[in-house]
């Protein structure tokens, strides 16, 4: 496969943008398996970038390389011009925060405590100051709590500050994960499938939340399977297929790309049982004229890829 990079001119972009994130030639091999191969990706400040791809395309692996959970076999990742260390807590300290595909809250901590943990890198009171309880410690704790409450107001969870995280409904757990990530005052927020398992209403609320995050000056990189969500939200979309970047560009460019459709739906080949029938169905769908095949078909069958 050839890699085409169509760097779409940033629409509605304020002048003087800078690179927040620049990943160049990131490759991740697990033994003989190459999960991510030579991926370049850049995120500018104030930008929302989507990363899509069929299941198993290496999106989460790429995310883990960015956040220092994995050490990439080749390539490097830099944040605002400095190369990131391969330790996830240092990456967070540098300014990249993330959420997880499967919610990973601190289940037995309260909502407020979860967000306070997120403030860890932006405070520095150690054990000694905790034991001595000087005025500096109290001041830092108070301001941390104020910041945390601001974030809970921002995400609409302020009323549930004393609940244990595990007792929150699913949608609110996702929100809390975002609030916790924002607590570290990141310059770039990585969201790993933020709307997985959500209803349409919750999805649109998440979209508003992500846009509000951008308003505050944080760039966002989001992995998602929900095409409507991605194409409505992102300034730029990159498509990852089998570990390689297939296309990158504005939503329109990506939606129109034949190869993206092929990657999601597969190309029919002879002899596979059931494939003929599937092709027939697809023909019928096209015949009913549901518009330009690429975007809509992928949109309505986000899980219909061949893997």
């Amino acid at each position: 496969m050839t890699t085409t990079t169509t760097t779409g001119a940033p629409r509605s972009a304020p002048a003087g943008r800078t690179d927040v994130l620049r990943a160049s030639g990131v490759t991740m091999r697990f033994g003989g398996l190459t999960a991510v191969r030579g991926v370049d990706l850049a995120v500018d400040s104030g930008e929302i970038v989507g990363l899509i791809g069929p299941n198993g395309a290496g999106k989460t692996t790429f995310f883990n390389c960015l956040t220092g959970l994995y050490i990439p076999t080749e390539g490097q990742v830099s944040y605002k011009g400095t190369v990131l260390p391969h330790r996830s807590h240092l990456v967070t300290k540098a300014g990249i925060a993330r959420t997880f595909q499967n919610i990973r809250l601190f289940a037995n901590m309260t909502v407020l405590e979860n967000v306070l943990v997120g403030r860890h890198t932006r405070t520095k009171e150690g054990l000694l100051s905790a034991l001595l309880r000087g005025p500096g410690f109290r001041k830092a704790e108070r301001s941390s709590e104020e910041k945390a409450m601001e974030l809970l107001e921002f995400t609409g969870l302020a009323g549930k500050r004393e609940h244990l995280a595990r007792n929150l409904p699913y949608g609110e757990q996702r929100k809390l994960e975002i609030a916790r990530a924002l607590a570290s005052e990141p310059g770039l927020l990585l969201l790993d499938e933020p709307t997985a398992g959500m209803t349409a209403g919750e999805t649109s609320a998440t979209r508003d939340l992500v846009l509000a995050v951008r308003e505050q000056g944080t760039a966002v990189l989001v992995i998602e399977h929900d095409m409507r969500f991605i194409f409505n939200l992102c300034d730029r979309v990159a498509v990852l297929v089998q570990g390689e970047k297939l296309v990158e560009g504005s939503p329109e460019v990506v939606q129109a790309d034949e190869r993206v459709v092929a990657a999601y739906l597969g190309t029919p080949f002879e002899g596979e049982p059931g494939e003929a029938e599937a092709a027939e169905v697809r023909e019928a769908e096209r015949a009913t004229g549901t518009g330009p095949a690429a975007g809509t078909a992928a949109d309505e069958n986000p899980k219909g890829e061949r893997s």
């Binding site: 037995n108 309260t110 997120g118 905790a130």
Partner: protein, 610 residues
């Protein structure tokens, strides 16, 4: 939490033949409500009366239960039990002046107290029959007690439960006797208390700790095993009754409001203990309990907060004790120097800190079971190492298995801990001195625990325990905070060890095994933390007291001690995995209840200090 809508339940759950009663589901036994109340009251009064009679004819049974008109020991416990039953029953029926006793449940505490009294009486009867050889040794008073306590329980089981059955639960459409019994032990959460004036709240806290001190002193002073068992039965049923009656919740709300007052009151009550004692017999027990409890509290930092399962923790106590012994000026110490106490404490704590970091740095990269196994190994390495540093297998430092003996008593600012002193007209013996010194250490360690818990580092520990990957993604250096927890735990144990060396006056390797019959050892320390409640302050203190007192008081279980101990732990893990004294937060953690009771106002669940 069960529903508190009384009417919804009765209409569906109560049998149609029964009179409509909105107070709750039917009791275990189907008695007319009035008859049940009368029987309970009569039974309680009868039990009370029986304690004024002789229970046996001979003074051979310990305690001498042969007098008319003056209850002793087990009879006193029965008396207290029956009076409490009566009081709670009257309170539940709206008798003026007593209603504060049952803000929550009304029936459940009666049932529990009746069962507790029955337990004490029947246990006494059984013990008399076994010790003296047969029920012929009963005097009429014993029979009266046996029958009246049974009558109380029968009556209490006939009382209607506090809560209606949950109509949504299909298993309770036609409940069997066992289900009705279990249901009768449930109770509603009490309504928020009326605002008391400030002085009354403080007085309540003071009275609470006064009673606590009295109960604890009574338990520690029990001169024979039978009385201690009776005491345990009554206290465990009584404490549960207190919780079901809703008093515990109200008290804990009060103590949560006045944290510092509570803290001070607890300290004062504990400091009063030696002044209630006339000899050193039980203060030595108390001093050892404090050492054990303090070390357990240190372990609670490691296990309860940071979630690191450390099976070799007693080694840190040993390092502190050996370090203090070496610099104590003992004639068997190879160093032959005598440090002042403050320097000895610093030496012990410092040695433990170094040992903790040296062990922690390589092992804390392991997780879960692997960490447990490696710490278990290091614990044993410490003991065997101390045995071999005897001059023949290795350099001569510790005198091997003989240990360092004749550790002199402490002298701080001219105050000799080995001598009797008279304070406020009370003779304070050597162990009482050490008890008070140890109490200061406990105070320090409790403060350290509380402050570390409610801080940035404390939250980082819990986060690492909950999900290390997520914690690292939040910017927490997992290894570093775990090492801090490990080192802090080691230091606290080392501090306790410096006092322990002087209390036991000799330090030998086999004091610091993984498991043996006498606490503290690693297994018992961990058990104390788990038994009491992980992550809390009071949990390990209570757990350690129980684990020390039970073997010390019940010498006769001897060889079966570890077996019974294991059984008790299995039962505890099955029925109360959060530990005996868990806070609301731990209960939410271990029981999948869903959080409907949103805390409003007052101190919440979050551990913050702002």
């Amino acid at each position: 939490m069960a529903t508190t809508n009384p009417e919804a339940g009765t209409t569906t759950a109560a049998a149609p033949a029964e009179p409509l009663d909105v107070t709750g589901a039917p009791g275990t036994l189907r008695l007319p409500p009035k008859a049940a109340r009368l029987l309970t009251a009569a039974g309680a009064v009868g039990t009370f009366a029986s304690t004024m009679l002789a229970w046996t004819w001979t003074a051979e049974f310990p305690g001498d239960l042969t007098y008319y008109g003056s209850p002793v020991d087990l009879q006193t416990l029965t008396l207290v039990g029956s009076l409490l039953t009566l009081a709670v029953l009257l309170a539940g029926n709206g008798v003026r002046g007593l209603r504060w006793l049952t803000p929550g449940g009304k029936t459940a505490p009666v049932v529990l107290l009746a069962l507790g009294t029955l337990g004490v009486v029947w246990f006494t009867a059984g013990a008399i029959a076994v010790v003296l050889g047969g029920i012929v040794n009963f005097e009429p008073g014993m029979w009266v007690a046996v029958l009246t306590s049974l009558a109380t329980v029968v009556g209490a089981l006939g009382l209607r439960a506090d809560l209606p059955f949950d109509p949504a639960d299909p298993a309770l459409r036609d409940p069997g006797a066992w289900q009705r019994f279990r249901h009768s032990l449930k109770s509603a959460t009490p309504a928020p208390a009326r605002e008391l004036p400030g002085w009354a709240e403080l007085l309540t806290i003071a009275v609470m700790f006064g009673i606590g001190l009295f109960v604890f002193t009574y338990g520690i002073d029990t001169p024979y095993g039978e009385l201690f068992i009776g005491f345990l039965i009554l206290v465990s049923f009584g404490a549960t009754a207190l919780a079901r009656a809703g008093l515990s919740q109200r008290l804990s709300k009060l103590t949560g409001k006045h944290r510092n007052v509570t803290f001070t009151a607890a300290f004062v009550a504990a400091a009063c203990f030696p002044f209630t004692q006339s000899s050193d017999q039980y203060t030595s027990v108390a001093a050892n309990i404090l050492i054990f409890a303090t070390v357990a509290l240190g372990l609670n930092v490691v296990v309860g907060l940071a979630g690191l399962l450390d099976l070799g923790y007693v080694a840190f106590l040993g390092v502190g004790a050996y370090a203090a012994a070496l610099v104590s000026g003992s004639d068997t110490s190879v160093l032959g120097v005598e440090f002042p106490f403050w320097a000895a404490v610093l030496t012990g704590a410092g040695a433990s800190l170094v040992f903790g970091v040296v062990i922690g740095a390589p092992t804390l990269r392991l997780h879960g079971d692997y960490l447990a196994i490696v710490t278990l190994g290091f614990g044993e390495i410490f003991r065997i190492g101390m045995e071999n540093l005897d001059g023949s297998s290795g350099p001569s430092v510790t005198n091997g298995a003989n240990g360092i003996a004749n550790i002199p008593d402490l002298v701080i600012l001219g105050f000799n801990f080995g001598e009797d002193h008279t304070i406020f007209g009370v003779d304070i013996g050597p162990f009482a001195n050490y008890y008070l010194l140890m109490l200061v250490f406990t105070l320090i360690i409790v403060t350290i625990f509380r402050r570390a818990d409610r801080s940035r580092i404390g939250r980082a520990w819990v986060a690492v325990r909950e999900d290390e990957t997520a914690a690292r993604a939040m910017g927490i250096n997992g290894f570093r905070v775990k090492l801090i927890a490990f080192a802090l735990g080691a230091t606290l144990a080392g501090m306790a060890g410096t006092v322990q060396a002087h209390v036991t006056s000799s330090v030998t390797p086999e004091q610091y095994q993984f498991v043996e019959v006498v606490p503290p050892n690693s297994a018992f320390l961990l058990a104390a933390v788990i038994l009491g409640g992980m992550g809390t302050v009071s949990g390990p203190l209570v757990g350690a007291s129980l684990l020390y007192l039970i073997p010390a008081k019940l010498q006769f279980i001897g060889d079966y001690q570890l077996l019974l101990f294991g059984l008790a732990l299995v039962l505890l893990m099955r029925y109360r995995p959060e530990g005996l004294l868990a806070d609301r937060r731990k209960k939410l953690e271990f029981h999948d209840t869903g959080q409907l009771d949103v805390p409003t106002g007052g101190p919440g669940l979050s551990k913050t200090e702002a």
